[in-house]
Symmetry: C2
Subunit: 369 residues, 2 copies
């Protein structure tokens, strides 16, 4: 037996990038009530999905998942070639894979702020430098500032469109200007909230081979628990990402259910249409109350409560409605984000908000009538 | 609008490590027949798991998964602290996370060969150098050769125990000698086939804080489709891995079903015990036939068919039995791996093997009687 190789003092250490990685602990515990906190579908998934789930056999669970046939079916639904689509373990996995495919420690990543936290976390984990591009008070898309930060080391630009938690959007021509200006960088446009917005960059990768577009089944489709996202792009660029993808990353239940989920167009379109109507209703009410809010193209609205944001969230929870304090996000001091539900759920939401705003003396009792 | 930043010639390129990454395309398509090819549970999962799956509501699918409470329940079952256990999206995810946590491009990874392909793929994806440690013709554990390859740059050593595709094992003291000799490297002991073997290094991380032990629900538990693995280790080391883990990497169906799966001990113990009995039966038959095989401590047996390995696999498939050609694995020329099933399934397996061995004139017709 060789003698001990290393000195007794040697210990296992994580990479420096891991040691300094920001923590992300979503406030999941004890989510009892109307779920207006995570931008999920508030009524669940299509009955067709549930029927499929319940038809699964022990054998279906025992077999390793086969992703490719389902990728073909999902691609067909979205009128894409199978080579233009990769199914992922939620969009988190898609972001992770993009970072792993393209980022080295000497690279730079541009991310507008505020936005979805996972872009920064997965990018920073590679050791690359993350440059946060601040927006103005209206959260309008910071195109000029972003283009000014582009360098030869820029290798990823991640943009949620519509953005979360603001609900703001970038115009297609703004996004394509970035793809054009940075052909050496991957441009990820995360269309997680597409169904509540309607504008997409699908197919634009034919002109911009560095463009990737992500979609999720966690929002309008009501399948956050199943973990299914899609990453789309030009076949050649996507082939590189596919190399680092784990063959069994998407579970068999998701794979069995996705064809049902995309086939039930009525469920998703009807839900999204109703959510958009309720979004207008909430925004009109906020305007009536004189509460500052940001017009949203997603299934949530961000508004400014002010110093009493934490008390607002607690008081809503006490009334059985979960909403999300976003006051720690850059530029979001005092802000709360509320996910929309269907009409009866919005009735409950507005009734509770009316009480809480009055209780906290944020609007006058007269206005709250 | 700023002018185009980069020259027209600039294009997006994946990292060098990704460009040279080995492909892994498991032969999944058209798996019709008795599944003796992927070391899955051949009868499916516990009825308690299926009942739980069928009780899930649309709301359960629509909510983001909550991993922590289930980690607590699974840790308790294995008599571990929650801080000693991380649930992962299959063991693939555990391997991926370990590589991401510890490996830099100037590091070195030691992997005995032949073994499970994903260690090399995830390690190589980081840009680290992978050193393959060859075994002898008996596939005995290459402890001396491995220790001789240790350097200050070694940061990960990945060992499947029992090993796949050989079924061979390393003794606990051999594994701990590695942990002792390389305190600056993570030692992953992948106990995917633990239930068919019975020896574990659980808790040894109290003395060797660089030791990680993985387990899976894809084999004995019959849940390969759900994607659930566990990574265990000393709380401090595991905390680093937890930092890079995606908060929603394990889906809600798996999380709902795991407490049922671990609670039904009878199902797993009974299945494993029956598989071990059938393993002895197959090994005795191979010995009787004079077919070279390697004694296995897992739910499969590797044996040498010789030049006709591909014809053997095809002829078995024609008889409705899927087996796996492993002849491309290092040291496994002409070898086939067969997963064991229950007694009636082994009856079918042996009957088909008898016919095929005779048909291919690998054993005499008399011996095949």
């Amino acid at each position: 037996m060789p003698t001990r190789f290393a000195s007794g003092a040697a210990v296992l250490k994580p990479r420096t990038a891991v040691q300094t990685l920001p923590d992300y602990h979503p406030p999941l515990g004890g989510r009892i009530g109307l779920r207006c906190d995570f931008n999920e579908n508030t009524i669940g998934c299509s009955p067709r999905v549930l029927a499929k789930l319940r038809s699964l056999s022990p054998e279906d669970l025992a077999r390793y998942p086969e992703r490719e046939p389902v990728e073909g079916a999902v691609a067909e639904h979205f009128q894409l070639q199978p080579s233009e689509l990769l199914l992922t373990n939620g969009v988190d996995d898609a972001i992770h894979l993009l970072c792993e495919t393209f980022l080295e420690p000497d690279h730079q990543v541009l991310i507008p702020a505020p936005t979805f936290a996972m872009y920064e976390i997965f990018a920073a984990a590679t050791g690359a430098s993350v440059v946060s591009i601040s927006t103005d008070a209206e959260f309008s898309f910071p195109l000029e500032r972003l283009l000014l930060q582009l360098t030869a080391r820029t290798r990823l630009i991640a943009i949620a469109n519509p953005n979360n938690p603001t609900g703001a959007v970038a115009a297609p021509e703004e996004l394509l200007a970035i793809a054009e200006a940075a052909p050496h960088a991957a441009l990820l446009v995360d269309e997680a909230y597409y169904d509540f917005y309607g504008s997409t960059l699908f197919h634009a990768w034919n002109d911009y081979p560095n463009l990737f577009v992500a979609r999720t089944f966690s929002k309008a489709y009501g399948l956050a628990g199943l973990r299914a996202g899609i990453l789309t792009g030009a076949p050649e660029a996507l082939a590189s990402v596919r190399r680092v993808a784990s063959p069994y990353s998407v579970n068999s239940v998701a794979l069995a259910c996705l064809p049902e989920a995309v086939a039930d167009r009525f469920f998703v379109e009807n839900y999204a249409s109703e959510i958009c109507a309720q979004r207008e209703r909430l925004q009109m009410q906020l305007a009536t109350w004189g509460v500052r809010f940001w017009p949203s193209q997603a299934n949530f609205v961000l508004f400014e409560v002010g110093e009493k944001h934490a008390r607002f969230v607690d008081a809503m929870r006490a009334r059985g409605i979960l909403v999300r304090d976003r006051s720690r996000d850059p530029g979001c001091g005092g802000c709360v984000r509320v996910t929309l539900g269907l009409r009866p759920q919005t009735d409950l939401l507005l009734a509770a908000m009316t009480e809480v705003f009055a209780e906290l003396q944020l609007i006058s009792r007269e206005r709250a009538q």
